[in-house]
């Protein structure tokens, strides 16, 4: 057993987990506070990636492209909320699902119109290129290590904001009793727009970091959206802590499953069988995990208490 | 008393830091009408919800007709003869009043995995439903969409749906909630006709209703039963008067 390979895959799992967390945090907040099912969250992730590529081309500076992409995604998020989604909060979930589905179609086409359907190439910035020696004989890509660090930093930031600041208090209160918060005179509309925009920015951050690793193409948001939904279901809707735990677990299970399930199967069944069953089982792994969690805890691991 | 129809021991339920039910004991004999009263927040509706099976208690035992039903879900208890009406009207608004009651009849008329014959054509469902509507005074309103009925009529429909399931025990949660004087009086008349034929556990705020109907009264405060006995005894009970700040428990 090549333990270095296991460690490397664990790190990859953590990196995927952290990216899932960035998406899940925004999405679960929007679910929990506004009771809004936002399927278009993946579109914001996609926009983050595309904006980063575009701004890099325009300014030539990686740092500038990151900042601009974040801002742009934030603005788009808030615009979408104000223009299209605001009227839907009072409606039932089916309306949310359909409307945001419509947005997905729209944004995918918009991106295809602007940048074409072919995958774009986003390169790892030179400053973050190369490898770092984490353990003796284990070299890990600097870029991925940075993603892990950024993700953990954001998690820490969110923890501080949610538990130590006034905004965080409003968010927690809103998650458990929306009407009460409104009744207390808080400007609910502004709070919602801010929360939505914040979530959009987080998704955009995930997207722009993902660009160099995964392909940048129309529809990239939907791929990751499903995994994010699994994360939220496992973690519990409305809970940031659940989002973090769920994200890391899903990221690990998915990555380790894809890396090791086939070879592990091959030790017990024929190589041919492992060859076809392995990838299939690996792709099912996170859903089986979700089913198992739901069987014992239908509300997820850390559901935010609702009134 | 002889084996009580409803026997509750040590019922407990908490929601986070709030203890809604704090060790409730209750016995109801067959044919009795027991009223459960208490100030707001005493935990009366939570108690009803646990008795009907809509809420699972944290601890305690509920026995109905000699059988331990604590772990049984609401539909199973309904099939055993336990019916509930809701404090906040809970009906099928898009369906007609008759359809509402017919559904209650249907629930106890065999299974519903029937796919061909229209349910509206089944006399075995419609006739009993019509009879119950008559019984509660809605005989003429059967074809009206339930959502457009007046508030008082909807409360009557609530009772009708409970009655249509041919229950032994009726759990009535504030049956006259939101009703005017005339409507309340009519409801009391109706409930009087049910006394003796059904066992009734009645949660109410309206003291006139309580004294008109109850054989015994249990008083709940902060999740506990602090007194139980005949209406007159309860009226005089100093602890009860204190719980209600004196003024409210008066003739």
């Amino acid at each position: 057993m090549n333990w270095l390979l296991v460690v490397e895959q664990c790190l990859n799992g953590l990196q995927l987990g952290v990216m899932l967390f960035l998406m899940a945090a925004g999405l679960t907040l929007v679910f929990g506070i506004m009771n809004f099912v936002n399927l278009a969250h993946g579109s914001l992730y996609m926009l983050g990636a595309y904006f980063a590529v575009a701004f890099l081309k325009w300014t030539g500076s990686f740092a500038a492209s990151v900042v601009l992409a974040l801002l742009a995604t934030l603005v788009v998020g808030m615009l979408v909320e104000v223009i299209a989604l605001r009227t839907l909060y009072e409606r039932d979930h089916l309306d949310h699902v359909l409307a945001t589905f419509g947005l997905i179609l729209f944004f995918n086409e918009l991106v295809a119109i602007a940048w074409g359907r072919a995958a774009l190439f986003a390169s790892v910035p030179p400053a973050l290129g190369g490898f770092v020696e984490i353990l003796p004989r284990l070299r890990y890509p600097v870029y991925r290590a940075v993603i892990i660090l950024v993700g953990l930093a954001v998690a820490l930031l969110l923890y501080v904001v949610v538990s130590r600041t006034r905004l965080g208090m409003l968010i927690r209160a809103g998650a458990s009793n929306r009407t009460m918060v409104a009744a207390l005179g808080v400007n609910i509309r502004l709070l919602y727009t801010v929360v939505f925009g914040f979530g959009a920015a987080l998704a955009g951050l995930g997207g722009l970091m993902a660009g160099p690793i995964y392909t940048v193409q129309p529809g990239m948001g939907e791929e990751i959206l499903i995994e994010v939904l699994v994360v939220i279901v496992i973690g519990g809707i409305g809970s940031i802590r659940g989002a973090l735990v769920g994200a890391v677990v899903v990221g690990m299970v998915d990555t380790l499953g894809r890396a090791f399930l086939k070879p592990m199967l091959a030790t017990v069944v024929s190589p041919a069988a492992a060859d076809s069953a392995g990838p299939a089982l690996a792709s099912m792994s996170i859903y089986i995990l979700m089913a198992a969690v739901l069987y014992f805890r239908p509300q997820g691991l850390f559901p935010a208490t609702r009134s | 008393m002889a084996e009580p129809l409803l026997h509750v021991r040590g019922l407990r339920k908490r929601f986070g830091g709030l203890v809604a039910t704090d060790g409730v004991d209750l016995d109801v004999a067959a044919g009795e009408t027991v009223a459960v009263i208490g100030p707001n927040g005493a935990g009366k509706t939570t108690l009803i919800a646990q008795l009907s099976g809509d809420l699972a208690p944290d601890a305690g035992r509920i026995c109905f007709a000699g059988a331990d039903v604590t772990a049984l879900p609401a539909p199973a208890r309904s099939r055993l003869g336990l019916a509930r009406s809701f404090q906040i009207t809970s009906i099928f608004r898009e369906f007609s009043a008759l359809d509402n009651v017919a559904l209650a009849v249907q629930a106890h008329a065999g299974h519903s995995f029937r796919f061909w014959r229209p349910a509206r054509a089944e006399a075995a469902l419609r006739e009993p439903a019509r009879a119950v509507l008559e019984q509660v005074g809605l005989g003429a309103r059967g074809d009206v969409p339930a959502g457009t009925l007046a508030h008082g009529e909807q409360r009557q429909l609530e009772i009708a749906m409970a009655l249509a399931t041919r229950p032994t025990l009726l759990l009535l949660d504030e049956p006259v909630a939101g009703m005017g004087l005339d409507e309340s009086a009519r409801m009391v008349q109706l409930l009087r006709t049910l006394r003796g034929r059904h066992t009734i556990v009645l949660v109410e705020h309206d003291m006139d209703v309580v004294f008109a109907l109850a054989d015994r009264i249990s008083v709940m405060v902060d999740g506990r039963v602090i007194a139980t006995g005949a209406p007159e005894a309860i009226r005089m009970n100093p602890e009860v008067r204190r719980a209600y700040l004196g003024e409210e428990v008066s003739a």
Binding site: N35, V37, T87, L88, H93, L94, V97, L98, A99, F101, G102, L103, I104, L105, F106, N108, E109, A112, E222, I226, L229, I232, V233, I237, S276, A280, S283, Y287, M290, A291, L294, Y295, P298 | D54, A74, P75, S78, R79, R84, F86, S90, I91, F92, R93, E94, D99, L103, A104, Q106, H108, S112, R114, F115, W116, R117, P118, A119, E122, M161, A164
Partner: protein, 315 residues
Amino acid sequence: MARRRRALAMLAALAALAAIPLVAGLVNQPFYLDLFRRIMIFAIAAVSLDIILGYGGMVSFGHAAYLGIGAYAVAIPALHGVHSAWVQWPLAMALSGLAALAIGAISLRTSGVYFIMITLAFAQMLYYVGISIEPWGGDDGMRLARRSQLGGPLDLGDPHVFYYVVLAILAVLLLVGDRVIQARFGTVIRAVKSNEPRMRAIGFSTLRYKLAAFVLAGAVGGLAGALLANQTEYLTPSYMHWTRSGDIMVMVILGGMGTLAGPVLGAAAFLLLENVLSAWTVHWQAILGPLLVLVVLYARGGLWGLLPGGASRDG
């Protein structure tokens, strides 16, 4: 009365559909035959979804998975020389029904937002499984070796015969669906949508009825998938992609959910719109997207609700 209006509308629609092959022959455009056959197949899928979505209130976002299973249930036996429709199509329905049973047994224990996301996730799981199984084409999909054999004069290779077979299935489905909605079972499903806690309070074990409806809808979806495989003579796992589920859901809503006839209208409107818009611009989805948002915001009763007679539904 809503029922009579719907019955008349369905008869009119079926008659119109029956006339299409004649019209197509007259103007020498066999393409219309193909297009309307495709519309009818998706109408079957949409009607099956309407049972659980429109009447049952279960927002299942994974319905395309059942079409996919049905399609593979035709293509895989065909690959191994089994071409009889009398084997393939019941198999399609059985397998889809089983999948619906498994997915429903887990998903229906939840509700609301969780339910939507879980049905979405499980359906997508089937898509990923489909991609990863190489012997069945993997990502590229597989061709249908030969159309299903019904036997005798019913040769699906003849476009007209195939058209009328699909029409017959749609007609039977609408008829049976109407009876089911009015029967005890349909009444329970509709009442559960209206007020599930009340249903449980009066003595219905609602889970078993919801699950049964879920399985029935899945099975009919499987039949639609079997027909679709025959229609395109080619299938890929993308048939099961969740965006396909979204398309079917749009058809139901666009047409008018909870009406049985509405989804037929919706399927026609959706596919005709797609046909017209895509001839105009390759980026037609950029128009369809916002259009969908507008429909959701302002025309919740769908096309059916816009027809004269108001939006009265089954009570």
